[in-house]
């Protein structure tokens, strides 16, 4: 209860502390203290804006997920570059409706963002009911394969990370 009151979002506080140290480029005691102070104070100040978010249950999975996404971003770029630079091949664009399994706001957001950042896809719209995601693909040959790939590569890990 007490922790809840003074440190409502420990992960956020940690992130803030790290960001602070990055900003000041120093590990001096003074900066550490100031950073800690801010890391505690800012979440407290903005508590009202902080709608309850799911806790990260599997930090390791998260790390792995991040790495996968980073890799995919590089791959995505190479693919897109090829497509843009090549004069011969014509892309085969298309829209798909992706039924969502995750229901949590942050998870949906992360998934949508991931989809946008990674191979050949951009999330274009989330249905207001949160049931599905409309995705535009730059070069789509098989709808089902794409849905499957997204499901396996991104949605499942996210679901596991947040256990929802």
């Amino acid at each position: 209860m007490k922790r809840q009151r003074y440190l409502p979002t420990p992960v956020l506080s940690l992130v803030l502390l790290v960001v602070w140290l990055l900003l000041v480029r120093s590990l001096a005691v003074g900066q550490l203290l100031l950073g800690t102070l801010l890391a505690v104070a800012i979440p407290l100040l903005t508590r009202g804006f902080w709608e309850p978010l799911p806790h990260i249950r599997r930090p390791l999975k998260l790390a792995r997920f991040v790495l996968v996404v980073l890799w995919d971003i590089i791959v995505a770029n190479l693919q897109v570059s090829r497509l843009i630079l090549s004069f011969k091949r014509q892309a085969q664009p298309g829209f798909i409706e992706y039924p969502l399994e995750v229901k949590e706001r942050l998870a949906i957001t992360l998934l949508a963002n991931t989809i946008t950042m990674t191979p050949g896809t951009v999330s274009t719209s989330i249905r207001p009911d949160g049931e599905s995601l409309l995705i535009h693909a730059l070069d789509m040959h098989d709808e089902q394969a794409l849905i499957h790939a997204i499901r396996e590569r991104y949605e499942r890990p996210l679901k596991e990370i947040f256990e929802c």
């Binding site: 956020l12 992130v15 803030l16 960001v19 602070w20 900003l23 000041v24 001096a28 005691v29 003074g30 203290l33 801010l38 800012i42 979440p43 100040l45 903005t46 009202g48 804006f49 902080w50 709608e51 706001r105 942050l106 949906i108 957001t109 949508a112 963002n113 989330i126 207001p128 949160g130």
Partner: protein
């Protein structure tokens, strides 16, 4: 009757001084007032002043006594008497002033007082017209007089009357002499109703009769005459002066007399006769011989007495019968014998019949007219014309008496004669003043040496400027030419009266009020022309005003540029690189696009924002990190602001402009652009002397910060920043007023005509803004704290915080955010100002000027050195003010727009 105390007291004072003055002394009083101006509170009592002062106070007392009974009970007695007293005082001021400027002040004061008196019955349109006309004419004259006085004073070397009068030779020799004479005479003639400025006087008869009696017999109109007499020693004795006065006087004499003869309105007749008599006096002043001057002063006295009496009599008749129309009146003798006596006595004086005072002065005029040679060989016509005037004067005086008291009233078709029964002599209060004045006319005529000669003699000394003349006034001069002419005039007058109807037919050929009509028409034309001109100038078109402003700037900057020897200065140019060229090209392209696409508003905004970005990059490129930060953060907020507003402005307005207009604007714009560029280039290629080194050197030791820009902002020139956050807060407060009670036009769809999306708060945006808020706040704190030594500071930090909060409003809506942030933004902004102000005032406690900063390094265990500066406190004030003001502006606008959103669109 308490009002009589003041004039009587003054009269008493005057009489105490009288013996000395009559003996030829000049009594003066001097008080310094505005030495810079040459204006002193200086008074002078000589013979002329005494004569006039006696008239003003004596007749004034009688008339005040009269008006106590004259005004009906429901009228505002007090106000009337106040105006009268004001008038009396200012008139007295004119005659006793010993300083030209002081005289002018009183002169103008009489115009104002007379305006109020003439317009006393302002609900009648003729009273209003008459008052305005009198004011306009006499004030115009007054202004000319002022100019004349200023030149006169300069020519004489002083405004003190004594010195001016003594400097006659210098004045007459000065280059400005003709101009001075012209200006002074315009002043005098307008006041004295001399031709061609006479036309206001008959209209002024709309005033209550006591006013007419006072103003138009003894005082106001005499002011002009007084002035001519007063300045005679300084300005007179030249051909120009004599000619002007003689001709004007003659013309006025005849003109007034002629129209007096034809006038139907009782007071109108008296008014024209006044005009005529004033002409007579002017003529006498123009003749200029010692005796003529004495005659002038004598006639001033005589005219004042009999004319005041006549006006008072006319007032009684008007009061009793309710009309002043000579055609409706008649046969009043039997009903009003005392009034009749009054009028007959005074009328006889006016006609110049013996043994009344009018006869004496007229004889003198006739005599002097025979002597004069002002017109050279043409001087012969003067006595003839004077004789004609005297004849007419007899005629209209007889007509007045005859028609009122002895002839039967005439009935014209639309008018009825008055029922004679109701009319009788009034109460003694009304009769006594008039009767005593009429009696005085007779007595002066009978005993001129005893009653008038000393006074007239003293006055004429003042007019001549030397006390040489010994005056002998007698009723009987023996048989001589003047007497013959008088008899001729009387006979002629009787004939003219008999032939009145025929004369009237001739007169009908020219309307007597031509001058006044054309004056009014002229005023009207002037006003219409003014309106036309004003409307042409002030079209109410902002575009025009802007074009004028730009044109001015263009011309002015151009003048400076023209004076430049070479455009390129000695410092020369730095080299270019490709990036700069491309950046410049993009900026230029974006700016021009933004201008050209102004009707495609969203695109215009986007292009504008490109320009903003490029400007920020330019700041980076040219070593101004603080400016880049500021520009970038302002950019974001401005964009939000513009988009907020765009929603309520027409998306695509119709085209309403001609090609010529566009061409004109393009030319103007290009020209100013060119001039600005040239100025900028000229500056950039020249050496710059600057005080920069001081800031760079003092920043760390004196201001305690390494970021010199920030130290300048919060310390060296903290006062600018203080003003700047005041402006910002002020903008916030000001927009409150604009948004108060705002009614808006809500478009039903966006630019493309598509209906609004039903989804209010997109999920992803909401989540991301939530994540971003703490990070942004952290960055904001960082930027704030480092500001003193690194790029950053309270302003940028404040904008970051504000933007992060605005993002919450955008993502989650007003209501949601408001409940989580229940702060009053005006209070935040004002607290910021308060913090800054308190920091500034704090230095007073230590005896330093406002906003003096202090800083120190403190060593704390574990943490090490930290620097604390009051400048940071000041910067905190800046931060708060920025956050408060920005949110106040944006959120208020956002909130207002939401309130007016139609509810039918809610999902």
């Amino acid at each position: 009757m308490a009002t009589l105390v003041a004039p009587l007291l003054a009269l008493a004072l005057l009489l105490i001084q009288a013996p000395a003055v009559l003996a030829g002394d000049v009594v003066t009083l001097q008080l310094a007032w505005m030495p810079l101006l040459g204006l002193d509170l200086a008074l002078r009592l000589d013979g002329l002043a005494l004569l006039f002062a006696l008239l003003i106070l004596g007749i004034g007392t009688l008339i005040l006594y009269y008006s106590g009974d004259y005004l009906s009970a429901d009228e505002d007695d007090g106000r009337f008497l106040a105006y009268m007293m004001l008038f009396m005082a200012s008139m007295l001021g004119i005659v006793v002033a010993d300083n030209l400027l002081l005289l002018w002040l009183f002169w103008e004061l009489t115009s104002i007082a007379s305006f109020l008196l003439i317009g006393f019955w302002g609900s009648h349109s003729d009273a209003r017209r008459g008052a305005r006309m009198a004011l306009t004419v006499t004030s115009a004259g007054g202004l000319a007089l002022l100019a004349g006085f200023l030149l006169l004073g300069q020519a004489a070397g002083s405004f003190a009357l004594g010195e001016v009068l003594a400097a006659g030779d210098a004045i007459r020799a000065s280059d400005h002499y003709p101009l001075i004479v012209a200006l002074v005479l315009v002043g005098a003639f307008t006041k004295s109703a001399q031709f061609p400025f006479h036309f206001w006087l008959p209209h002024a008869m709309a005033a209550p009769t006591p006013v007419s009696a006072y103003l138009h017999s003894a005082t106001m109109v005499k002011a002009g005459v007084f002035l001519m007499a007063r300045l005679n020693p300084a300005l007179g004795d030249t051909a120009l002066w004599s000619l002007c006065l003689t001709l004007t006087g003659l013309t006025t004499l005849l003109y007034g007399a002629w129209f007096a003869l034809l006038e139907r309105d009782l007071k109108g007749l008296l008014a024209f006769s006044t005009v005529s008599h004033l002409g007579l006096i002017t003529l006498l002043l123009g003749l200029g011989s010692p005796l003529a001057l004495a005659a002038a002063t004598f006639h001033i006295l005589n005219h004042a007495t009999f004319k005041a009496a006549l006006f008072l009599g006319a007032g009684i008749i008007d009061h009793e019968t309710g009309t002043r129309d000579l055609d409706r009146l008649g046969a009043l003798w039997s009903m009003m014998p005392l009034t009749g006596t009054l009028t007959l006595l005074a009328g006889a004086a006016m006609a110049g019949l013996p043994p009344f005072n009018g006869f004496l002065s007229k004889e003198m005029l006739l005599g002097e007219s025979l002597e004069t040679d002002v017109l050279g060989t043409l001087s012969v016509i003067i006595p003839l014309l004077v004789l004609l005037g005297a004849t007419l004067s007899v005629a209209y005086s007889l007509r007045l008496m005859w028609r009122l008291f002895f002839a039967a009233p005439r009935r014209s078709r639309e008018q009825k004669a008055l029922p004679p029964m109701a009319v009788h002599d009034p109460a003694p209060g009304l009769l006594a003043p008039g009767l005593s004045l009429a009696a005085l006319s007779l007595l002066v005529g009978l005993f001129p040496m005893a009653l008038a000669a000393p006074l007239v003699q003293a006055a004429s000394w003042a007019v001549q400027g030397e006390a040489t003349l010994e005056l002998h006034l007698t009723l009987w001069h023996g048989l001589n030419w003047p007497l013959a002419m008088s008899l001729l005039a009387i006979a002629g007058g009787v004939v003219a009266l008999r032939q009145h109807r025929r004369l009237a037919q001739i007169a009908a050929l020219f309307s007597p009020r031509d001058a006044s009509r054309s004056f009014e028409a002229a005023v009207l034309r002037v006003i219409k022309a003014s309106l036309w001109l004003t409307q042409r100038l002030e079209t109410g078109s902002l575009q025009r005003y802007q074009a004028l402003l730009i044109l001015c700037a263009l011309a002015m900057a151009g003048i400076g540029l023209v004076k430049l020897d070479t455009l390129t200065g000695a410092a020369g140019m730095q080299s270019l690189d490709a990036m700069l060229v491309l950046g410049a090209a993009l900026t230029v392209f974006a700016a021009i696009s933004s201008a050209l696409s102004h009707r495609w508003r969203l695109v215009s905004i986007l292009m504008l924002s490109v320009v903003g970005l490029m400007v920020s990059l330019a700041f980076v490129r040219f070593s101004a990190p603080d400016l880049a930060l500021t520009q970038l953060s302002v950019e974001v907020v401005t964009m939000i602001l513009m988009i907020l507003a765009l929603f309520f402005l027409p998306q695509r307005p119709p085209l309403l402009v001609s090609g010529r207009r566009i061409l004109r604007d393009l030319v103007l714009a290009t020209a100013l652009g060119l001039v600005t560029a040239m100025l900028n280039y000229a500056l950039l290629t020249r050496e710059r002397p600057a005080i920069a080194d001081y800031f760079l050197r003092e920043s760390v030791p004196g201001g305690g910060g390494a970021n010199v820009v920030n130290v300048i902002l919060v310390d060296f020139r903290g006062f600018d920043t203080f003003g700047e956050i005041t402006v910002l807060t002020l903008a916030g407060l000001a927009t409150f007023g604009l948004l108060h009670g705002l009614k808006l036009f809500m478009p039903a769809g966006n630019v493309e005509g598509i209906r609004w999306s039903p989804q209010r708060y997109p999920l992803i945006l909401a989540v991301i803004s939530q994540l971003l808020l703490p990070l942004a706040l952290l960055v904001s704190v960082n930027i704030f704290l480092r500001g003193h030594n690194q790029p950053g500071g309270g302003f940028v930090a404040g904008l970051i915080t504000a933007t992060a909060l605005i993002l919450q409003y955008m993502a989650r809506g007003h209501a949601w955010t408001r409940t989580r942030l229940p702060i009053s933004y005006p209070i935040v902004a004002v607290s910021g100002l308060a913090v800054a102000l308190a920091t500034g005032l704090g230095s007073w406690l230590f005896g330093y000027p406002f906003l003096t900063s202090a800083f120190g390094h403190f060593h704390l265990p574990l943490i090490g050195d930290i620097e604390l500066a009051t400048a940071m406190l000041f910067d905190l004030g800046v931060f708060l003010a920025v956050v408060g003001a920005t949110l106040m502006i944006l959120v208020n606008l956002g909130r207002v727009t939401t309130i007016h959103r139609p509810s039918l669109e809610e999902p």
